[in-house]
Symmetry: C2
Subunit: 238 residues, 2 copies
């Protein structure tokens, strides 16, 4: 871990513990990213097997969350950390909750991919959905990157991309409503597509949450429920 | 606080701090419950003003979450709690996150209530939506009650009601799809109703999460990602 906080520790063992938990969060992040990538591929390629593999792997994400959460609580109890170390553990606890939820959303996308794979119908709205999928995957990747480097400026930048995913969601929804009105037989499968877009929007939210945890750790400030502009000021003002 | 954990504290001041944070969580819970009640009333009574008041009050919920979260971190840093006290603070941190999200969902319901208030159309599906609203509000109330009494058996019972809200959601969705197919002009407003049902389903999820935090505190066991049957065994086996 870069930064001044842990380098001042007398206990080398404690440093190792913090480093270990950070590494585990990043491997959990890698797994969740892979789940999302596979879910998106399953959707665009109508690949039922790949979709099923995402569903099968979901348990690994859940298991990791519970294990890291336990490790967090154990360190809290044994080491009684203060200041930056305490904030790191809080940021870790929040981040794994978000990652677990991204995993849930990836699983939902995979289920919808399987659902949609067998169906016919114009796939024009897929273009919007693919673009949105690429956008939120980038956001997730960026948030994990900011976490790995504990870079609050990068975190603000990634968080600032969330409004775009909201706009994409609204545009897709509008397109799907038009489509459902034109062809009511498509309502069921269009709703599946709505859920996919909704899941992606939530992944964007979670990526933003992870960024907020990074900012909380680095800056010691709670930046939830504030605008991106305020966030930039908080980080810039450091 | 009943139980053996805090009664053994040498520091009376620490007891007071834990009691204080518990009280604050319960007032936040009361506020969120009120928000949900008002959002549901705004929906059934097509009451735009009441809906708007839910939106206006949302900031109070967010502010409380941030304040309690800070208090939690401060106690963690100063008191270096172990065992039950540490679990209490972890349960508090998780519970307020869930409560804040219930507040978000109540706000969404209020927005949809305003949206739907001006529209005409058969309200037959409202019966299902009302029943679901009553169900998840009861779940939320039950989860806060279990938290107030730190009663893990009550928590398991409330968590066991979540599958019912999932079933209600699926039934409402099916009804709305039929309705959209019969009258494509209703698609936009029907989708609003879908979002309402979706928001309610998520409130049920959060109530279950709160129950899991109560069980974690009382039993010292992480019961996420397991079935209700396993949960009952964990609590019964104590």
């Amino acid at each position: 871990m870069s930064g001044n906080t842990t380098s001042q520790h007398i206990s080398k063992q404690f440093d190792n513990e913090l480093e270990h938990i950070r590494t585990r969060v990043l491997s959990m992040g890698g797994l969740v990213e892979q789940q999302l990538t596979n879910a998106l591929r399953a959707l665009t390629e109508a690949n039922i097997e790949l979709g099923q593999s995402v569903i099968d792997e979901e348990i690994k994400v859940n298991t990791l969350e519970v294990a890291i959460d336990e490790e967090c609580t154990r360190i809290l109890a044994r080491r009684q950390p203060a200041a930056g170390d305490l904030r790191l553990l809080v940021a870790v606890a929040k981040t794994i909750t978000d990652l677990e939820r991204v995993g849930d959303e990836a699983e939902k996308i995979a289920k919808m991919a399987i659902h949609l794979a067998g169906k016919q119908g114009p796939r024009s709205y897929y273009i919007g959905i693919n673009a949105m999928g690429i956008h939120v995957r980038k956001m997730l990747h960026g948030s994990l990157d900011a976490f790995a480097r504990m870079d609050s400026k990068a975190a603000v930048e990634v968080a600032g991309k969330e409004p775009e995913s909201d706009e994409q969601y609204v545009a897709i929804l509008r397109q799907l409503i038009t489509y459902m009105m034109e062809d009511p037989r498509s309502i069921t499968s269009s709703l599946d597509a709505v859920w996919v877009a909704r899941a992606m929007e939530r992944i964007g939210d979670h990526a933003r949450n992870i960024c907020e945890s990074v900012i909380y750790f680095v800056e010691g400030k709670d930046v939830r429920h504030i605008s991106i502009e305020q966030m930039e000021r908080e980080v810039g003002a450091k």
